[in-house]
C-alpha cells in the first residue's frame, strides 16, 4: 500500500520535473546573471564578488546587532510609501532612484536581499523589495535562502559595523508593466488568472484585516497562498514542488497572463517572484493596492463563503 503510494508520488514528481524542464529551461527568456534564490554557502563565497550588493531589509536595530559582512542597511519601510490610504504603495520614481543611488546600485548590479523569515509577512517583505527593484530596472535580484536566521544558525561570518555604500547616480528603465492599477486588475477578471495569495481564511472570507473594508476575494480569483512557499525552516521549497503547486492552481502555461493580489501587496509579491523569477512564467503582474484599495470600491466584485 505504502509502496504503491510512494511510487505514485515519484511518478508525479518526475512528471513535474519534466514540466519544469520544458517550461523553465531555455524557454524562460529571462536573462539572469545570478540565481533567483541563493544559499548562504554561495553568498559567503561571493561576499566580495564585483557588482554584488547585499541589502539587509530588517530593522536597523537588528542590522546593527549583526549582519552579513559588507551588507547595507535599507529597512523594509524605506521601500514602500503610504499613498491615498494604501499602506504599501510603490515609491515615487525619484524617491526610489534616490534610495538605489544611496545603496550604490546600478541597473547591472547583482542585488542579494537579506531579510528575516520569522513571520509570513517578513518572508514576503523580501519578495516585495525584489519586485520593487525589478520595477526600478534592476534585473539581477536574488533572495538569501532561509534569511538571516539560517545564516546565523549556520554560524557564518557576522559584522556589527554600519557599512555605507559609495553612492551611485542611479538611472534605470522602469518596468512599469509589472504593476497593475485597480482598473487593470478588475478588467482582468475572467480573462487573466487572478491569484489571491493570502491564506485561505482570507480568501474564503472568515478572516479579515482591519484596514480592508470587506471580507472575501475577487470573484473568479484562485487561491494560492504565499506563506506556503517556504518550508518550516524558512527555506524556499524545492523548485519542482513550487512548479507543481503553481501548475495545479494557475496551470502550466507559462505565457498565460497572471495577476496577483493580497491585502496590501506584500503576500502578492511572494508568488509573483516565484512564478516569474523562479518558474519562468512570463506574464505575471501585481496589484500593489490590493484588497485595501479594491474593497473600498463598491463596484469591485468581492465574494465570500465560496471557493470560486
Amino acid at each position: 500500500m505504502k509502496n504503491r503510494a510512494n511510487a505514485k508520488r515519484i511518478i508525479i514528481r518526475m512528471f513535474y520535473a519534466v514540466l519544469v524542464l520544458l517550461f523553465l529551461g531555455p524557454l524562460s527568456g529571462l536573462a539572469r546573471d545570478i540565481a533567483p534564490v541563493v544559499s548562504g554557502e554561495w553568498l559567503e563565497k561571493n561576499l566580495s564578488a564585483p557588482g554584488l550588493v547585499i541589502v539587509d531589509i530588517r530593522k536597523v536595530e537588528s542590522y546593527k546587532a549583526g549582519h552579513v559582512p559588507g551588507s547595507l542597511s535599507a529597512f523594509y519601510g524605506s521601500w514602500v510609501a503610504k499613498k491615498n490610504n494604501n499602506t504599501n504603495e510603490l515609491l515615487e520614481p525619484d524617491d526610489l532612484f534616490d534610495l538605489l543611488s544611496s545603496l550604490g546600485i546600478t541597473p547591472t548590479s547583482k542585488v542579494v536581499i537579506v531579510g528575516s523569515v520569522a513571520s509570513a509577512p517578513e518572508q514576503c517583505f523580501r519578495t516585495r523589495v525584489a519586485w520593487t527593484l525589478i520595477y526600478g530596472g534592476v534585473k539581477n535580484v536574488a533572495l538569501l535562502d532561509g534569511g538571516m536566521e539560517k545564516w546565523l544558525k549556520d554560524k557564518r561570518q557576522v559584522a556589527t559595523d554600519f557599512s555605507k555604500a559609495k553612492e551611485s547616480e542611479y538611472e534605470g528603465q522602469l518596468e512599469k508593466g509589472i504593476n497593475l492599477s485597480k482598473e487593470q486588475i478588475l478588467a482582468g477578471l475572467g480573462k487573466a488568472v487572478v491569484v489571491d495569495t493570502r491564506p485561505p481564511d482570507f480568501f474564503f472570507g472568515v478572516a479579515k484585516v482591519p484596514n480592508v473594508a470587506k471580507p472575501g476575494h475577487l470573484k473568479t480569483a484562485v487561491c494560492l497562498p504565499s506563506p506556503w512557499l517556504l518550508d518550516g525552516e524558512g527555506m524556499m521549497k524545492k523548485t519542482e514542488e513550487l512548479a507543481a503547486m503553481a501548475a495545479g492552481v494557475v496551470g502550466p502555461d507559462h505565457a498565460k497572463e497572471i495577476m496577483s493580489y493580497c491585502n496590501t501587496g506584500v503576500f502578492a509579491s511572494g508568488w509573483w517572484y516565484v512564478l516569474r523569477e523562479v518558474l519562468g512564467y512570463r506574464n505575471v503582474k501585481l496589484h500593489d493596492g490590493s484588497m485595501e484599495e479594491l474593497a473600498r470600491d463598491p463596484n469591485a466584485p468581492i465574494v465570500k463563503y465560496t471557493w470560486k
Binding site: 536597523v60 536595530e61 546593527k64 529597512f75 503610504k82 515615487e92 524617491d95
Partner: protein, 346 residues
C-alpha cells in the same frame, strides 16, 4: 530558561562593576543559600537610589539628580501655567508626586535593563553589561507610545530618513538631555546642545536648486517639519486624571505658540478644561495657554506631498488648523494659532 535575567558569567571577572559582588548594589544577603533569606532587603532597582552609582560616577549622578528624566519637571512645567498658586500646591501633592514622578528613569533603565512598561520588562540588555546605549531596548520602550514608532514608521507611516540612514536617538540627542545640565531646570529648552535641524543642515549647503529656493523663501517663516514631516503623527485627546487620554493620528499646521512668526507642525496636548476636575483643580488660568503646541514629529522625509507641491499650503491650505477644527471648549489662546498662508497667484 528565560535569558532575560541571566547574568553573563564572563562579566564577573572582567567588569569593574562586579568587583564587590552583587550585594554591593542589590543589597540582600549574599552568604545565604536560601532564596527567601538571600533576597531579604533585596533592591530590584538599585540605581533608583543615585548613591549606588555616585561612588564612582560622582559628577553624572549629581547632575542626573536634576535632569528631567529624573525629576519629571518637564511635565509639571507643561501644565503649571494653567494653575493658580493654590492649585499648583494641590497638584504637586496630589498628582505630581503620586503619578507623574512614578515614571522617571533610573540610570539602569538606560544602561542595564529594559525599562518596565506596564509592569513588564524584557530584562537585562546584555547579560547585565553596563552598556553606553542601546536605544532600541531602552528609549524605544518609554518613548514607545509616540516617538519611537513614528521614527521607525511602525505607527502606520514611513520611517524617518535618519532611521533609514542608520541613526538612532543618541546620534541627535546628547548627554545633556540624559544626564542633565548640572543644576535644576524645568524644560528641555534649557538644555544647550539639544538637537536642531539647522545645526546639522546649515542653510546654503543644499545639493539642489529646488531645495535652496524653497529654503530661502521660508527661512524664519515656516519650520523644517512643516514641509519635511512625512505625515500623520500622534495627537492625544481629552485626558482625564486617572482615566488617560485617547489618541489618534493627525497632521496640524499653525503658528508656533512660542514664536508666532513661524508656521510649524502642532500637536494637540491632552489637557482639557476638566482634566483635573476630580482633584478639585479647575485651572483658573486655563485660557492663558493654547491646547496646541509646536511638535517635532520624528517622521522626517526629504520629499513629502508639501515639498512636491507649493499649492498644498498656499492655496489648498491642507493641514492648516481652522476655526472649525479647534477642539470644543478649548483654550481661548487657540485662535491666535490660526493662519492663512498667502496665495501665490496674485
Amino acid at each position: 530558561m528565560y535569558k532575560g535575567v541571566l547574568v553573563d558569567k564572563g562579566l564577573l571577572e572582567s567588569d569593574p562593576h562586579f568587583a564587590q559582588g552583587c550585594s554591593f548594589c542589590h543589597k540582600g544577603n549574599e552568604e545565604s543559600q536560601n532564596k527567601e533569606a538571600a533576597h531579604k532587603g533585596l533592591m530590584k532597582r538599585p540605581s533608583d537610589d543615585l548613591e549606588t552609582c555616585a561612588g564612582c560616577h560622582e559628577e553624572i549622578a549629581a547632575s542626573y539628580k536634576n535632569s528631567l528624566h529624573y525629576t519629571s519637571a518637564g511635565q509639571r512645567h507643561g501644565v503649571m501655567g494653567r494653575f493658580s498658586e493654590g492649585e499648583l500646591r494641590i497638584f504637586d501633592v496630589k498628582i505630581f508626586e503620586k503619578s507623574c514622578r512614578s515614571c522617571h528613569a533610573s540610570c539602569g533603565d538606560c544602561h542595564v535593563k529594559s525599562p518596565a512598561i506596564g509592569g513588564v520588562s524584557t530584562g537585562l540588555l546584555k547579560g547585565h553589561r553596563f552598556v553606553k546605549k542601546d536605544e532600541g531596548k531602552t528609549c524605544a520602550l518609554c518613548h514607545g507610545g509616540r516617538v519611537y514608532p513614528e521614527f521607525t514608521g511602525e505607527y502606520g507611516g514611513v520611517p524617518d530618513v535618519h532611521y533609514q540612514k542608520g541613526m538612532a536617538c543618541a546620534d541627535c540627542h546628547s548627554k545633556g538631555e540624559f544626564h542633565g545640565v548640572g543644576g535644576p531646570y524645568t524644560s528641555r529648552r534649557d538644555v544647550k546642545g539639544r538637537p536642531a535641524c539647522i545645526g546639522c543642515h546649515p542653510a546654503g549647503q543644499e545639493k539642489s536648486k529646488k531645495a535652496k529656493t524653497a529654503h530661502t523663501m521660508h527661512a524664519g517663516k515656516a519650520s523644517c517639519t512643516s514641509c519635511h514631516s512625512s505625515g500623520n503623527y500622534r495627537n492625544c485627546y481629552n485626558c482625564h486624571e486617572g482615566k488617560g487620554a485617547t489618541s489618534k493620528p493627525g497632521f496640524i499646521l499653525g503658528r508656533n505658540p512660542r514664536n508666532k512668526d513661524i508656521v510649524t507642525t502642532l500637536r494637540l496636548v491632552p489637557t482639557v478644561r476638566g482634566t483635573f476636575e476630580e482633584m478639585g483643580i479647575k485651572m483658573e488660568n486655563f485660557d492663558r495657554l493654547p491646547n496646541y503646541w509646536d511638535a517635532y514629529p520624528h517622521n522626517i522625509k526629504k520629499r513629502t506631498e508639501r515639498t512636491r507641491s507649493c499649492t498644498l499650503c498656499h492655496s489648498e491650505r491642507k493641514g492648516f488648523l481652522t476655526k472649525e477644527d479647534l477642539i470644543k471648549d478649548g483654550s481661548k489662546a487657540n485662535e491666535e494659532l490660526l493662519v492663512v498662508p498667502k496665495s501665490l497667484t496674485k
